[in-house]
């Protein structure tokens, strides 16, 4: 019995050692890149698609996507970076563009610069600008909120405007059309949520301005674009061509129910518009009206976010390569996410793909994605600074008062509130 045991002992050990070697070899080879992001139907699904594509070519690397809500991602990121507990951080994290500079400036060295690895010339310039700090570019540009003016062809036709008349509008012309639309159809021109500074942001960025100057100083009182943006919104209120909305869902319901004739917002709304199947063929899209200030263009942006690699990550080289391979080079990937998720990326070359070139039946066969791609390359670069949300809140407080008050007072009040918030 003892003899038997002794005899079987060595091969068993050998087998174990062999198996263990194989196992450690496998562990050393296989690498997991952990990604944090929000929205299971959008960012999470898109990142999983990107991961699947990368793993196909690199079987030793898997991408693990963990979904938290946006505020949760921010909270966890903040906790991880503040505490310095490296193992608590992911390898890649999604950050909203408006908040990018806040993270880059508050946590120097926390994010891996990707300049030198990624060819940023291929992306929309405004997207690259917002993730640049001291000459280094940090993130991988992801989805864009390039804006458009969506309009109901049937309502405008009834008011005497053809799609050709809707091109190259100024905001004054837009308001004039709005009055005609209401007179002829009884429909309001636009849904307006006073608690949301979105329209203000769209307008000022179209003029290459923001709440901050290029070097990050508060720019409210002498900002011609902000003054013009508030002016336009005051005119819209005084002409009474808007339908008031309370909150996001209500705002959306204004156009899904056919109550308003136009929407001025980011390209990501397209999916919601197209979800109203009974409105197929009734919608058109054109560039946004221009603001009456020097340098203003008919392109802007609303929202959007980008990927960042954490510098302390053990697999940061792989993470950077993953982002670069898929998001900076894979044109086919961009066709897939546009088709499946309605996501418009910031890689300009994506427009050469099939999905971007396809006419859209819902929009009467127009090649809307080519249009958006055109406007994308024209979005002016601005500095989102580190306090966009704070100033935005100050703007939202003043918006409802514009109907009766003066723009001057509003600007003074915004400046005052912004200053106390920021200091």
């Amino acid at each position: 019995m003892l003899c038997f045991k002794r005899a079987s002992w060595k091969p068993a050990l050998a087998a174990t050692v062999f198996a263990a070697t194989l196992l450690t070899a496998a562990i050393a080879e296989a690498k997991t890149i952990t990604v944090w992001c929000w929205d299971p139907n959008f960012n999470v699904a898109i990142m999983k698609e990107a991961g699947a594509r990368y793993t196909k070519a690199h079987p030793d690397v898997t991408i693990s996507v963990v979904d938290f809500s946006k505020s949760d991602v921010e909270q966890k990121l903040q906790a991880g970076l503040t505490s310095g507990v490296a193992e608590s951080l992911p390898d890649i994290v999604l950050i909203e563009d408006y908040g990018a500079q806040k993270y880059l400036q508050s946590f120097p060295g926390a994010f891996m610069p990707l300049s030198g690895i990624v060819d940023y010339k291929g992306f929309a310039p405004y997207k690259v600008e917002l993730m640049t700090l001291d000459g280094k570019v940090y993130g991988m540009p992801f989805d864009t909120g390039v804006t458009g003016l969506f309009y109901r062809k049937d309502y405008l036709e009834a008011a005497g405007y053809k799609p050709a008349d809707m091109q190259h509008l100024t905001w004054d012309k837009y308001i004039e059309i709005g009055k005609a639309v209401e007179a002829k159809t009884g429909k309001k021109m636009i849904g307006f949520d006073f608690s949301d500074g979105a329209l203000t942001r769209v307008m000022i960025q179209s003029a290459g301005k923001w709440y901050f100057t290029k070097d990050g100083k508060l720019d409210i009182e002498n900002n011609p674009a902000l003054r013009a943006a508030l002016d336009v919104q005051q005119k819209i209120m005084q002409a009474n061509i808007y339908k008031p909305a309370t909150g996001w869902n209500d705002w959306v319901s204004k156009f899904t129910s056919g109550d308003v004739a136009t929407i001025v917002t980011g390209v990501w709304i397209t999916g919601t518009i197209k979800a109203q199947k009974d409105q197929a063929g009734k919608w058109g899209v054109t560039e946004i009206p221009t603001l009456n200030v020097p340098g203003a263009v008919a392109a802007s942006n609303l929202g959007g976010s980008s990927w960042y690699v954490i510098n302390s990550s053990k697999v940061k080289a792989e993470a950077a390569d993953f982002l670069n391979t898929i998001y900076a080079k894979d044109v086919d990937f961009y066709q897939a996410i546009l088709q499946d998720r309605g996501a418009v990326g910031s890689l300009l070359a994506a427009r050469s793909g099939k999905a971007y070139d396809a006419p859209d039946a819902f929009f009467g066969g127009d090649k809307i994605w080519q249009s958006f791609s055109n406007w994308l390359s024209q979005v002016p670069s601005v500095n989102y600074g580190i306090f966009t949300n704070e100033v935005d809140a100050a703007v939202a407080v003043q918006l409802p008062k514009l109907a009766k008050g003066s723009v001057d007072d509003a600007i003074k009040a915004i400046a005052a509130q912004a200053k106390t918030q920021i200091q």
Binding site: V66, A79, S83, V85, E87, S253
Partner: protein
Amino acid sequence: MPLPRLLNRIGVYGFLGAMALLSVFPFIWMIVGTTNSTGDIILGHLGLGHAFLDNTQKFFTQANAPLIFWNSAKISLLGTALTLAVSSVAGYGFEIFRSPGRDWLYAGLLLTIMIPFAVLMIPLFMIMGRLGLINTHIAIILPTVASGFVIFYFRQATKAFPSELRDAARVDGLKEWQIFLYIYIPTMRSTYAAAFVIVFMATWNNYLWPLIVLQTNEMKTITLVISSLASAYYPDYGVVMVGALVATLPTLIVFFAMQRQFVQGMLGAIK
């Protein structure tokens, strides 16, 4: 009944009824929401719809429901049991045994209740990092085990525990731990029940700390999953409502199962 009194009654019941409706409405809204499609929910549809099966099915495909439910249940039950065990001994000890620094120590303990968790979060997180407990369920349970509030609660309840009982037990030759185990716990059953309800609900609904500590989808609790579902640019509210309902059920069951003891425990175990 004379007219003024009748009017008075109508006024009182009307007011109470309105307040009751106000506090029950979110719950009704949740139940109704599980049966409606997201579109109907946004439009404020108050009647029952036909989307319940659809919503439920989507919830169970989008979230690994059994796993996250198990995670939440495990943390809550284990956490509550440990908290009750440790904090009740402490509360008992503070009241029964005299020692020089007792009141200072107790005052210090009460002060900890007043510190908001947000202040403790980062240091606690660093401790967990050093202990290698990030992304474990133990890291969620441990910090709550010695709870200032529960210790306070048990000390207050212990004041009503008759010293005659303890003296009699001592005369009968019971050791101190035996008195606690065989006399105190059975006598204070309703106190324990009330504490169980409070601690269980707090642990089950705990959000911030699990959010910070847990890192992977497999470890998440149900509160985190609902937050993630609700965070989409276009949330599927019907699915979120199903999630909320699933998350509410256990606390409801615990509360209703222990309602009588809970009320008794809140009033004092011994009358």
